[in-house]
């Protein structure tokens, strides 16, 4: 009996250790570091990149609401005027910022680099410029009751590792626009899969939005980022909202023939 118990412990330990290692090693990608979003399609501007990131198929109700502007201001902070993606004649002014240096943060990478920090209980995704960072809870917790949640630009995210990908589930977002003509509310669910390339130099982030009230089918697109060298450091974005020049319109220079 004693021998059989010892043999059983050895067998169980070997089996469990093997399962444990197999479960953890291939499934946890190394995505920690500094990343910069790439324009892989040659769109030439951030507005154009967003226009190329899919083509959302909205429900008639959502399309009507979007047209009426009832679901928010397209994801932009109030007062922030979007580049309309149209060419501007020489000397024609257009405003690109209201001068407010405070940014709400957001889900997708913007023109700044972003940093991913992986720890046991959470993953942090931090943009270099101001605004809310993203906290991805990895400790098995569930989303809060949305009736008691104040929506934010980054929502509430939980995650896990699956087949070499970081999988993030997010709800509780502020209503507004989504890249590729999509919309969102606090109830809209975003699922993200972050998968590094085999050499670890590229990161493919797949975004899938689902909400039967808004989408006829899941709205999916991808963004690719490039890993920055190990010696890179974050820039500290600085901007003075009290500086009147922050509100200056941009006037494109006259182009030479």
């Amino acid at each position: 009996m004693r021998h059989s118990f010892l043999i059983a412990i050895v067998i169980a330990c070997v089996a469990i250790a093997d399962d444990h290692l197999r479960a953890q090693q291939p499934s946890v990608p190394d995505i920690e570091g500094t990343w910069v979003r790439l324009d892989t399609v040659g769109a030439g501007s951030f507005g154009a990149v967003n226009a190329l990131t899919g083509n959302a198929v909205l429900t008639p109700e959502a399309a009507a609401a979007a047209a009426a502007g009832r679901q928010g201001g397209g994801g932009l902070r109030l007062g922030l005027v979007a580049d309309d993606d149209k060419p501007h004649a020489a000397g024609q002014p257009y405003v690109v910022t209201d001068g407010n240096c405070m940014l709400p943060g957001g889900l997708e990478p913007n023109s700044s680099a972003f940093h991913i920090i992986q720890s046991k209980d959470e993953v942090l995704i931090v943009r270099e410029n101001p605004g809310l960072h993203r906290t991805i809870y990895m400790d098995g917790r569930t989303h809060p009751d949305l009736s008691r949640w104040r929506p934010t630009a980054v929502g509430h995210s939980v995650g896990h590792y699956e087949d070499g990908a970081l999988v993030i589930d997010t709800v509780g977002l502020t209503p507004g626009g989504v890249a590729g003509g999509g919309r969102r509310t606090a109830e809209t669910r975003l699922t993200e899969r972050y998968v590094p390339s085999p050499d670890g130099k590229r990161l493919t982030m797949t975004y899938t939005w689902s909400d039967p009230k808004i989408y006829q089918k899941a709205h999916t697109y991808q963004i690719t980022a490039e890993r920055q060298p190990a010696g890179s450091w974050p820039f500290e974005d600085w901007c003075d909202s009290g500086d009147p020049t922050q509100r200056t319109s941009v006037i494109p220079p006259k182009q030479l023939p």
Binding site: I16, M102, W238, D240
Partner: protein
């Protein structure tokens, strides 16, 4: 016999599972960091977790008055006060040292390359203390924001962080206890766990011959928040909110 062996294996499996999970290496979901729960024994270098400065002077602060250099005039102090008042009015991002004085929690995570201090207060800038280099960024390559350049190393269980290359104007300049930071200022912070890992002690020492007659040292102690804490993002500071701006429009008026 076979059934008995299977039962025994099952029993042993439970034992082995408990052993395996308690010994556990990195967990199936984890990589790099360690947990922030008060486990025994505590890893004396594990600062990862959410930390909060106690809300008032009952606890967590030992900030003596700074001894200022004779070259620091009243006019200079008034100018710094005016600069900082403008900064609060216009929602300047908070950085070193004021980011460490917030009574809203911050999240610390340590990776191979740095220790990140991420405040949940959105008007504050994130801090990055580099553990993978022992020299500051060359001044001619560095564009200062509100924090300066921080590098750190371990002395036993104490993380010693040195910060310099401050910007002369960006952010809030005032230093707890008196004085202000300049591009020549140097800050050394010593981070250490106390009370079985439930308190994070940070002893800060400023040196700047143009500002302080003697090095200015103060101590802050942060309380570890419980496992499962959820960050509560603050409202974004809006410099163009007219009602908010009234707060900075002079002495308060008791009449509507």
């Amino acid at each position: 016999m076979c059934q008995q062996l299977r039962r025994t294996i099952r029993t042993a499996g439970v034992v082995a599972c408990a052993v395996a999970l308690s010994v556990g290496a990195p967990s199936a979901q984890g990589r790099g960091g360690r947990g922030n729960a008060p486990a025994a024994p505590v890893d004396a270098k594990d600062f990862s977790g959410y930390w909060e400065l106690p809300p008032d002077g009952h606890d967590g602060r030992n900030i003596p008055a700074a001894t200022l250099a004779p070259t620091v005039t009243r006019q200079k102090l008034a100018a710094v006060d005016a600069h900082d008042a403008k900064g609060y009015r216009w929602c300047y991002n908070l950085g070193v040292p004021n980011v460490m004085l917030l009574t809203r929690p911050f999240d610390i995570r340590i990776s191979a390359g740095f220790m990140a201090i991420i405040p949940e207060y959105t008007a504050a800038q994130n801090r990055w203390i580099y553990l993978n280099r022992d020299k500051h960024i060359p001044a001619e390559e560095y564009e200062a924001g509100v924090n300066g350049d921080s590098i750190g190393h371990w002395e036993g269980n104490t993380l010693v962080a040195e910060t310099t290359l401050f910007h002369p104007e960006n952010g809030i300049l005032g230093i707890p206890g008196g004085g202000f930071r300049t591009p020549e200022s140097k800050l050394v912070e010593r981070f250490r766990l106390l009370n079985n890992g439930q308190v994070l002690q940070v002893i800060s020492t400023w040196t700047d011959a143009k500002v302080f007659r003697t090095p200015h040292t103060y101590e802050l102690r942060y309380t570890r928040l419980p496992r499962g804490y959820e960050s509560r993002p603050s409202a974004v500071c809006d410099p163009y909110n007219d009602e908010r701006a009234q707060l900075f429009a002079g002495p308060p008026k008791s009449t509507p």
